[in-house]
């Protein structure tokens, strides 16, 4: 409603200053530097076990921190991160304490035994896992080892209740949060607003014993074959790319999955399965490299979940340039061969360090 007018009328433009006072107060709070929160005497501990491949937190790991903070902050508890490799990321993500697990290589059984020892000795109120390939496996191992109640793939979580789908997604089960919980992706928002101290904790783990796994070898995905929705790094061409042969060579040289805007797919220059966007594929990739793409809303919806975007466009005012973490205003037809040349030069002298 527009205030101060004789007749009450609906304001569709929503440009009234009085109505804007409240949102600006919220943005001011977010803009302030995150304050450090110290929990010296926690009432209880909420532990979480992030996947953190190579020591980097995944989006699912950050959501796990959000869930753990919700459970800990409800009663003056502290969040304990149980990780393979301590790093600097855990404090800002929301960990009050960090405990390094004595595991090397792929040995989930040894990791579960170490977690079981910590679960018993540190009196952890809850232990949270991401419902990912490795996190879900670990959660079930610990559940079978410890016999503690386990809630699989929670789709919502609060200090009062967790819910999950069961019976072929026909029934929703709801109960108070039990000791072990695995969290479905995109169920809880990541923690934001405060930093935590991430104090290292010492704990005497029992000696690990040999498991049933004799050897493990990681096989990276073949980017040319993975479906676009599963790809990790997508290089995409739009109407600004006319030299598609160089584009294909560049995709192969960057070891990425090819994508395209709808303009190229409609023109039959790229297969429909390569279309990124609202009416194509919504990506789940970490990296997106857009060449000659304007960034129409329908296209940007397809890259909304990409963490890192790089754009090359001749138009400084293209929406894709605004969205990108590294934006280059240049002709794609000149940048692509330059990239290829640089990659070939590097391949020819493999020993040189930059």
């Amino acid at each position: 409603m527009v205030p101060g007018t004789a007749r009450r009328r609906l304001d569709r433009a929503q440009r009234v200053p009085a109505a804007e006072a409240a949102p600006s107060a919220i943005t001011a709070a977010i803009d302030a530097a995150p304050r450090l929160v110290v929990i010296a005497e926690p009432a209880y501990l909420v532990a979480l076990v992030p996947d953190a491949p190579g020591g980097r937190l995944t989006p699912a790991d950050r959501q796990l921190f959000g869930a753990a903070r919700a459970l800990a902050d409800a009663g003056g508890g502290a969040v304990l991160a149980l990780v393979e490799r301590p790093g600097e990321e855990f404090g800002p993500a929301g960990a009050d304490r960090v405990l390094a697990l004595p595991v090397s290589g792929y040995d989930p059984e040894a990791k579960a035994l170490a977690l079981n020892a910590a679960l018993a000795a540190l009196d952890l109120r809850h232990v949270l896992f991401p419902e990912s390939a490795d996190g879900g496996d670990l959660a079930r191992r610990l559940a079978a080892l410890s016999g503690a109640p386990f809630f699989a793939a929670a789709e919502s979580l609060s200090p009062k209740a967790v819910t999950r789908a069961a019976h072929g997604r026909r029934v929703e089960q709801r109960r108070a949060p039990p000791r072990l919980i695995s969290l479905a992706p995109d169920a809880v928002a990541p923690h934001a607003g405060s930093r935590h101290e991430a104090l290292p904790v010492a704990f005497a783990f029992p000696e690990p014993t040999g498991g049933g796994i004799l050897s493990a070898e990681f096989i990276p995905a073949d980017p040319a074959k993975v479906p676009l929705a599963e790809a990790d790094f997508v290089v995409s061409a739009g109407n600004g790319v006319t030299d598609l042969a160089t584009f294909r060579a560049l995709v192969a040289a960057l070891n990425a999955t090819p994508g395209a805007s709808r303009m190229l797919c409609d023109a039959g220059l790229m297969p429909r399965s390569a279309q990124v966007g609202a009416s194509g594929t919504v990506l789940d990739a970490r990296g997106y490299f857009a060449l000659g793409i304007a960034g129409a809303p329908q296209h940007l919806q397809g890259v909304a979940r990409c963490e890192h975007v790089i754009a090359v466009n001749t138009d400084l005012h293209a929406a894709m340039i605004e969205r990108a973490g590294l934006a280059v205003v240049a002709d794609a037809q000149l940048v692509m061969p330059a990239l290829l040349r640089l990659l070939q030069d590097e391949a020819r002298q493999p020993e040189r360090q930059p």
Binding site: P23, G54, R56, Y106, E109, A133, D134, G136, D137, R140, R141, A144, L145, A152, S156, A166, H167, G168, V171, E172, Q173, R175, D186, A187, V188, A189, G212, I213, S215, E217, I219, A221, E230, A231, D232, N255, R286, G287, F289, P297, L300, Q301, A304, R305, E307, H308, V309, V312, G325, L326, A327, V328, A330, L334, V335, A338, L339, R341, L342, L343
Partner: protein
């Protein structure tokens, strides 16, 4: 190699009618690719649509008859321990029951066997008594493990499809009904059940009452941004910057 495939009573995701669980039929396909000595095992009151597994090439199905409320773990563990199996295959999670995927882990614990999750391919290992398991990871990556047998392995939905249903094979297969031990399910804290309601995923979060333009912005923007802008660099300069940026993000094999 003697292989047991655990088959559970599933429900079709759309119609809700009793149906075999697809991932367990995929487990059956992997088992038949390794050996002819494959046995199906089901613990429950009714075998119903699990007869379909015979049509997909299963020669013999053991039905451990028990009440619906009984815990299947002790019965299955006893049957597996006395059967002398080298490999036990199960689905990643059931479909139509509790669907928590916990049963294979509880069974491995009861039998004292190692367990490996999410297999998409199986092959006999170079040394006798070993098995090569290819595990599905996120984003199409794989991990190849060599494990010692006997072991429990769960199968991922990305595994190849089983052989198509054949009526003659379904007629040939035998179902062997045995009485399972009746063991009451361990007391679990009751959870309240209600009809499922899909929850919105956390992708776009604009404040309540935001305008259409703000909601569109929330749907198309991500948390990152505020990036670097290079205006009209030389192609070589641009290429160098892009490669350096990709390396810093860990998207290219570093040097």
């Amino acid at each position: 190699m003697r292989i047991a495939v655990l088959l559970s009573a599933g429900r079709h995701p759309v119609s809700g009618r009793p149906a075999p669980v697809p991932v367990e039929l995929q487990a059956l396909g992997l088992a038949l690719g390794l050996s002819d000595e494959v046995t199906g095992l089901h613990a429950g009151p009714d075998i119903g649509p699990l007869r379909d597994a015979l049509g997909h090439g299963l020669p013999r199905l053991i039905h451990l008859a028990s009440e619906a409320e009984d815990d299947p773990v002790p019965g299955l563990a006893a049957a597996l321990a006395s059967g002398g199996f080298d490999l036990v295959l199960a689905g990643r999670a059931g479909q139509g029951g509790e669907d928590s995927g916990l049963l294979p882990y509880a069974l491995a614990r009861a039998l004292g066997l190692p367990i490996v999750a999410d297999a998409v391919a199986l092959a006999p290992g170079a040394a006798p008594g070993t098995l090569i398991v290819e595990q599905a990871l996120a984003r199409g990556a794989r991990r190849r493990l060599v494990i010692r047998l006997p072991a429990v392995v769960t199968v991922h939905p990305a595994a190849p499809a089983p052989a198509p249903f054949a009526f003659a094979a379904a007629r040939r297969g035998i179902v062997d009904v045995q009485a399972g031990p009746s063991a009451a399910e361990p007391a679990r804290p009751a959870s309240e059940e209600r009809p499922y309601r899909p929850r919105p995923k956390l992708i776009a979060r604009a404040g309540a009452g935001a305008s259409a333009a703000e909601r569109l912005k929330a749907a198309t923007e991500s948390a990152s941004g505020g990036g670097r802008l290079l205006v009209a660099p030389s192609p070589e300069e641009a290429a160098g910057e892009i490669l350096q940026h990709l390396r810093a993000l860990g998207l290219l094999p570093g040097r």
